[in-house]
Amino acid sequence: MAGAFEHPFAVYLRAAMIPHIWCSGCGNGVILNAFIHALDELRMDLDKFVVVSGIGCIGRTAGYTNVDSFHTTHGRAIPFATGVKLAKPELEVVVISGDGDLFAIGGNHFIHAARRNIGIKVICANNFNYGMTGGQVGPTTPLEALTTTTPYGNVEHPFNLVHLATASGATYVARWTTLHVRMLTMSIKKLLQRKGFSFIEVVSPCPEIYGRRNNMRTGLEMMEWFRKASVIANFSDPAKAEITPEKIVVGEFVDIEKPTYEQLLYGKIAKIVKKE
């Protein structure tokens, strides 16, 4: 970052917080990069933009993005973001967090925010495990996968996040891997332009912690897996958006409109205030 000339994206990053904490080969940098590209292409007003994260490797993203940002407790990014969005609906509020943060400890908040259609945007880095704490099983870990807490192979059925988001009422739902950088950037741009609760799952390599235990020692090997397994199927039936070690269906699955919570609430308030 440092040097005689300023990187065109320097404005989006907190230089003093870099170098980041992520391992080499980690997908989190790819996600951050795609996110910043989307911000740049959309010329978003950075003074009206808030990034919220929970706890986990990907949770450090809030600190790296040079906008108003908040790093909450583990699992609570969505309810915090809900408070921000309702208090100041003119702000664009984006939650970037991990599979464990958003779907284990914070799972209840996710489904309720989606149900209410709060106009916050959620990007989940799904690395199939708890990276930050050293690679334990999580809610998206595939059956039979090895983690530090499933040393004999995972016996828990994982969540399919596309199913979960769709069933909970999200108005925009997509899944990409970090291999699909351009599509991912395009998708984040869409996410930022939607009004309602919007969700992107980014399947992301964690070679250091997850890959290592599952015969994929490097980021490259994990990307190779994504290349082999992924199938693009835009706007196919979300119910068929499978995700297994053999097949990862990616694409956009839902893009609908319905009134957001804040539209309905502020509409009511306007009427009540007028009546008084």
């Binding site: 917080m17 108003d68 790093h71 909450t72 407790t73 699992g75 809900t82 921000v84 308030i269 008084e276």
Partner: protein, 383 residues
């Protein structure tokens, strides 16, 4: 926002829960997130009706963890925000209360105490969370907690709680109980110009010079809010004055945590409030708070009528603990009586402050607080 509708100036007959909600609105609260729980539910219900009238936000979240998280979010977005709960929900909030302390988010949390542990006696009073409010979250910290004894104080202290929260950027607690919350009494709501309102300090420097956790002399940093162009970062991790994580730096941890404690400790003389009744010559001092203080007052009066030199030290601020006041009262006294609706909590602090003067705890659990006779008997026994 709100205009005339915000302060219901006049004489009312209302319940403690409603008075609390009205106090919040009068103080400028425009965001309430909560989850129903007896005996605090009426605060949420009243807020649901009143918030839209003043242009404020009411949301019922999916649980108490979400409620406090949303409150912190709204506070950072610039609104005065509050939640209300009782024991079980209060326990769920504890982790994020620590987050509010660490990120210095001004907010008000009302705990209408009921009988515990666990689900306990939902419709009956207790004073069993008075230590949890001080120590319930992890780590080292200081908060402010007030204990109302009447419906009027449910109004007044909620206003005060917002003022303290905004002044010190600290979560501030109204520690009520089922009786005070459900009791109906006369409440006088003053005209808006007679209600003191404090708002958080705003930064006076430019974005480039702004450091979100750089304190002023009073140890409290001015607070920018989201969307004001400062583009700042806040985190529950140990952070430096810029708000940047410093998870490996002992010096930063020491500086930050010490300041978070000191901004309350060093301002304690300004924060602490007590009510002193006939303490000047008291041989027996009753230390009480909340609903029990009313029985204690009655008992002290009865004792005086019978020639016993009794006095009352009512704790209005539970935390920071009015240790100096206890010490002063203890100097001349032979005995201190501490009636509480628990098995012995604040009495430990009283003992610490009273040094050699013995403190006798009078516990009471269940439906009713101590009757004046029960406290009077304790005064007689130890006086």
């Amino acid at each position: 926002m709100g205009g005339d509708k915000a302060v219901l100036t006049g004489v009312h007959f209302m319940s403690g829960d409603i008075a609390c909600a009205e106090g919040a609105i009068a103080a400028g609260c425009r965001f309430f997130a909560g989850y129903p729980i007896t005996p605090a539910t009426e605060i949420a219900e009243h807020m649901a009706a009143r918030m839209p009238e003043v242009g404020g936000i009411y949301i019922q979240m999916e649980d108490e963890i979400a409620s406090i998280a949303a409150v912190i979010g709204a506070s950072y977005a610039g609104l005065k925000a509050m939640t209300a709960t009782s024991g079980p929900g209060f326990s769920l909030m504890q982790e994020n209360i620590g987050l509010a302390v660490m990120t210095e988010a001004p907010c008000v949390i009302v705990d209408v105490m009921r009988g515990g542990p666990s689900t306990g006696q939902p419709t009956l009073p207790g004073q069993q969370d008075v230590m949890q409010v001080k120590w319930g979250s992890h780590g080292d910290y200081e908060i402010i907690a007030l204990a109302p004894s009447s419906v009027q104080e449910m109004f007044d202290f909620t206003v005060e709680a917002f003022n303290l929260a905004e002044t010190y950027r600290v979560p501030t607690f109204v520690m009520a109980d089922e009786i005070v919350a459900h009791m109906w009494e006369r409440v006088v709501i003053p005209p808006p110009e007679n209600i003191r309102i404090v708002n958080r300090k705003k930064p006076s420097v430019s974005r480039d010079d702004y450091m979100p956790f750089m304190p002023d002399d009073d140890l409290v940093p001015p607070m920018a809010c989201f969307g004001e162009g400062y583009r700042f970062h806040a985190t529950g991790l140990t952070h430096d004055e810029r708000g940047y994580p410093r998870t490996q730096d002992s010096e930063v941890q020491t500086r930050l945590v010490q300041r978070l404690c000191d901004k309350i400790r060093k301002n304690a003389d300004k924060i602490v409030r007590v009510e002193e009744v006939m303490l000047d010559d008291a041989d027996v001092v009753v230390v009480a708070y909340g609903i029990v203080a009313r029985s204690a007052l009655s008992a002290v009066r009865r004792a005086r009528e019978q020639g016993v030199k009794a006095g009352l030290l009512r704790l209005i601020t539970l935390w920071p603990f009015p240790g100096k006041h206890v010490a002063k009262a203890a100097e001349k006294a032979k005995a201190i009586i501490v009636p509480e609706m628990n098995c012995g909590q604040i009495v430990r602090e009283v003992e610490r402050a009273a040094k050699t003067t013995p403190a006798y705890h009078v516990p009471k659990l269940g439906e009713n607080p101590h009757t004046p006779m029960e406290i009077f008997a304790a005064i007689r026994r130890h006086g």
